[in-house]
Symmetry: C2
Subunit: 342 residues, 2 copies
């Protein structure tokens, strides 16, 4: 299964707001449609957002009517600005846009038609690299997983959050593929239920045993000794190893510490943002209240209630046992381990 | 607002499965209908379950056609067995049934018609006592709440969980009525959303400021210093002060400890079960999977997924700052404080 693909001049995205009830695809040659898809979470997960953004830039390039390279680059700059305004937390978005921008600048001596091809190829390269990173993360991370482990994960850090294979779920996939018997606890992950809708769907397709629980049950199962390891993804990792990930991750990390359960974060190095010293500087997206007051169109909470809906939280590095990357497994102190990578 | 009332030979229950979208009442003279209401959570909350059970016994008594006291008591025993089989965790259910049974035994010398009246009066007394306990808990607990506090609560331990006024929310109501400016964070409380549906509804009716959050956001707001106190109810308190309460309470307690936030449990003494030495002996109800796979009536999770759905968890006494009862505020060591009460 590919989350994002380029085919015949169009981007194909599986519509994650429809899963698991319907398997529908967005097929478009309009970069604004891809930006919209990022905004409304039809495509989500830090690495997937990065690749979708790169392809959106490629679509913008393809559609351009500009005759001069200067006009073309101006147009491209506008498109990049619009794509960058979709979501604030996942750093891969900005990383991918910056890389596309730099590629364009570095090739500004080329004719427009040639430049278009270069940009499309760069987006393909980003997608291919992300997929390669997922597999490497999986292989490094699988070393940390033992036969018979019960692994808890939060949100969806799977194939659907990447081009394919995943980040946290890459670790689980690789362990499973090595023949280790793994059982997964999937937090449902309110408000948008990525765990209930996406993680269970992915794992069940591959016959990896999974039990769905509500977010507030994780501590209970830890207290019963039923959770051996925790693996999550992240949307941004600061230079000191603090991470921002889906709201609720911090609570899972605190509970893990209380129960002496290893807490692992799996990210491609593209999710590490060394420009940010620690987690307090990561912007946290606040989303609309209707995500909390209802679901699937039906209102459940009291009409007119005040709601808070932060989409992410920050987990300080002291709660993290190891950060699994495509370049190897990082251990504390993370500031030094991360500095060595860059 | 009264959650449970006896009027003209019938029991009136507000149907909590319909709130907040509809304010509907169950009006019945059939004890089996009340038992059903307990089972499907039309009435829920440990003290409210106790009172509903007592009234159910009174209804069974009223309806009896038995001529002899022996036949009457046999019939009553059958009814009590059925009512007791509805839910396993809240001790108030068994406490109230036991009290009704003892009342009947102690008056077995009376004629059936007289005995019926005695049982109805006993149920009235239980209801009146519970209401009185709520007010006392509120007054004792309010001493622990400061002007300007942000108080987090989980599930609904309010008027709807009692005859009126509440347990945890009694504390908040009393503090509010004393003129203290309180702001409440209400955990939505998956899977059945008692926080989103019931706690917000109750507090908004009384203009007590409330912000609805998903369960997995509680730790985030604690880490930001936005939660000053936590108050929850309980379904059973063991002799050593361990408590069973709505699933997710344990996670909140662990998070509270990590952030040095006082964690209070408000219960009438009828919720204390001295026959149980510690929390490991409290039976935990496992409920049906559709509560987790659905949301607001619509299916959201992947079809056929395995689900765990424990309705309660146990919070060990070491996480509890104080237990607020109608007989005063208990402090550790709880085994001694509880022993002194009984």
């Amino acid at each position: 299964m590919k989350t994002i693909e380029w085919k015949n001049g169009k981007v194909i995205l599986i519509d994650q707001t429809k899963l698991p009830l319907k398997e529908e695809y967005i097929v478009t040659d309009d970069y604004q449609r891809v930006a919209e898809a990022i905004k409304i979470l039809s495509v989500r997960g830090a690495p997937a957002i990065g690749v979708a953004a790169a392809y959106a830039v490629a679509l913008a390039a393809m559609k351009s009517q500009a005759k001069s390279t200067k006009d073309f680059l101006d147009e491209l700059g506008e498109a990049i600005k619009l794509i960058g305004a979709t979501r604030p937390t996942a750093v891969n978005l900005f990383w991918a846009l910056e890389r596309m921008k730099e590629k364009a600048s570095a090739n500004s001596h080329l004719a427009v038609s040639r430049l278009k091809r270069v940009l499309k190829e760069e987006a393909d390269l980003i997608a291919a690299e992300e997929l390669e990173m997922s597999k490497k993360m999986g292989d490094y991370g699988a070393e940390l997983i033992a036969d018979g482990d019960n692994v808890l994960t939060h949100c969806n850090a799977g194939a659907l959050a990447t081009v394919d294979y995943g980040t946290a779920l890459a670790v689980i996939r690789s362990a499973h593929n090595q023949g280790k018997k793994i059982h997964v606890y999937a937090d449902e992950t309110r408000p948008l239920l990525q765990g209930a809708r996406l993680t269970t769907w992915e794992l069940m397709r591959e016959n990896i045993p999974v039990t769905l629980i509500c977010d507030n049950m994780a501590g209970h199962f830890m207290s019963l000794g039923k959770v051996d390891k925790i693996v999550v993804g992240a949307d941004r990792v600061a230079a000191n190893g603090d991470i921002a990930n889906k709201i609720g991750t911090y609570s899972v990390a605190v509970l893990a510490k209380e129960h002496n359960i290893p807490f692992y974060v799996a990210v491609p190095v593209t999710t590490i943002d060394i420009s940010i010293p620690d987690g307090s500087h990561i912007p946290i997206e606040e989303r609309e209240s209707h995500e909390v007051t209802g679901f699937g169109g039906s209102q459940v909470a009291t009409e007119g209630v005040t709601v808070a809906n932060p989409a992410f939280d920050v987990t300080p590095n002291r709660y993290i046992t190891a950060i699994i990357t495509d370049k190897g497994v990082l251990k504390p102190p993370y500031d030094k381990a991360i500095a060595r990578l860059f």
